[in-house]
């Protein structure tokens, strides 16, 4: 059984990926409503991925257990942490889970931007901790950014690779630091794109049309931000600003206003775009 902590956008998608590849998953959240929604969402996502030919149609589906009790993950063979991007919260959850599982159990954090070594410091065994930055949605995008912290052990790296193999995912391993590779660049891009809209230079659709048409991006930065969740974008930008001292990462006013208004993007039905109800 693998443990997935946090049943939000990413935890749910990671659970889909794992059960679709036959692994039993225990999904933990403090919010029972999130867990109930995740159960339905996993079934829906599984079928979507199978229809698109992105997940094996035959073969067993792993069992999904949803729980609000972290103690239920004690027997996990590996842990994937995907709780809210708040450093103190992640530190607390990782400290608790590392005290629960057997020594040598792989603990992967799906953090967007917090350095792996900073998070590893809160655990009992920093050598068991590595980063696995899954893309959204994790059951459709096969590439994962793996982060090796300065204290991550060889055994943890081997375990991470074999877990990703069993999920039929590819990976590139990079070094540790705020935002790693993807989010050091992507979050900054999103923030600048939002600032451009704030300054009235272009609409969200115009910004995205340029990235898509000129640079060949499949999705422009603001549509990507809506997919990620603007609350998570703002949290990640704060993490980056605090750890780099670079004011360019400070979330711009328009982004903060949308988060204040509860317009988080797809998950609430509105962000930079209207999404016609929740999805």
């Amino acid at each position: 059984m693998i443990a997935v902590l946090g049943a939000g956008v990413m935890g749910t998608g990671i659970a889909t990926l794992a059960v679709g590849h036959g692994l039993a998953v225990t999904l933990v959240d403090i919010d029972a409503d999130k867990l109930a929604a995740a159960k339905d969402a996993v079934r829906h996502q599984l079928r979507g991925a199978k229809l698109m030919g992105r997940m094996p149609r035959s073969g067993p589906t792993g069992e999904l257990t949803c729980t609000t009790s972290l103690a239920d993950v004690a027997g996990a063979t590996s842990v994937i942490e995907a709780v809210t991007e708040l450093p103190e919260l992640k530190a607390k959850v990782l400290a608790e889970v590392s005290a629960l599982v057997e020594p040598g159990t792989l603990i992967l954090t799906n953090t967007s931007a917090i350095p792996v070594d900073e998070l590893a410091s809160s655990t009992v065994r920093p050598e068991d901790v590595a980063g696995a930055h899954f893309m959204n949605p994790p059951y459709l995008i096969r590439m994962v950014e793996v982060i090796r912290g300065p204290r991550t052990g060889d055994a943890a790296m081997d375990a991470a690779r074999s877990l990703l193999d069993s999920l039929d995912h590819d990976h590139v391993t990079v070094g540790d630091g705020p935002g790693f590779v993807i989010n050091r660049i992507l979050q900054r891009t999103i923030n600048e794109a939002a600032r451009i809209v704030e300054e009235g230079l272009a609409s969200p659709a115009e910004v995205d049309a340029l990235f898509e048409g000129c640079l060949g991006h499949r999705t422009g930065p603001l549509a990507t931000a809506d997919l990620i969740g603007l609350d998570n974008v703002a949290d990640s930008l704060r993490v980056l600003r605090d750890r780099t001292g670079d004011a360019g990462y400070a979330p711009c006013e328009l982004l903060l206003a949308k988060v204040r208004d509860g317009d988080f993007g797809r998950k609430t039905g509105r962000g930079f775009y209207e999404h016609g109800g929740q999805s």
């Binding site: 829906h44 079928r47 979507g48 199978k50 229809l51 698109m52 149609r57 035959s58």
Partner: protein
């Protein structure tokens, strides 16, 4: 109402055009694999079946006739 008539009505209301029972829904580009997922949900609600496993192939959603055939098979298999 039989299954194919019901499906043709559902498709017409969702895509704002009419379809033939043997017309390829995907070839037109109007219907995507995402819409196929919507069709799964609709078939389950409307006909009391569960579409799972090997049935989750786009081929079963390519035409109204194919969907009808699948629903009949699934209904026959349900005790």
């Amino acid at each position: 109402m039989n299954i194919s008539t019901g499906l043709l009505e559902f498709l017409a209301s969702r895509t704002k055009r009419t379809w033939e029972p043997d017309e390829d829904l995907f070839a037109s580009g109007v219907v995507s694999s995402l819409f196929a997922l919507e069709l799964v949900v609709h078939l389950e609600k409307a006909y009391g079946v569960e579409v799972e496993g090997e049935y989750l192939s786009l081929e079963n959603f390519r035409t109204v006739n194919a969907m009808e055939k699948m629903v009949l098979e699934l209904q026959a298999a349900t005790p």
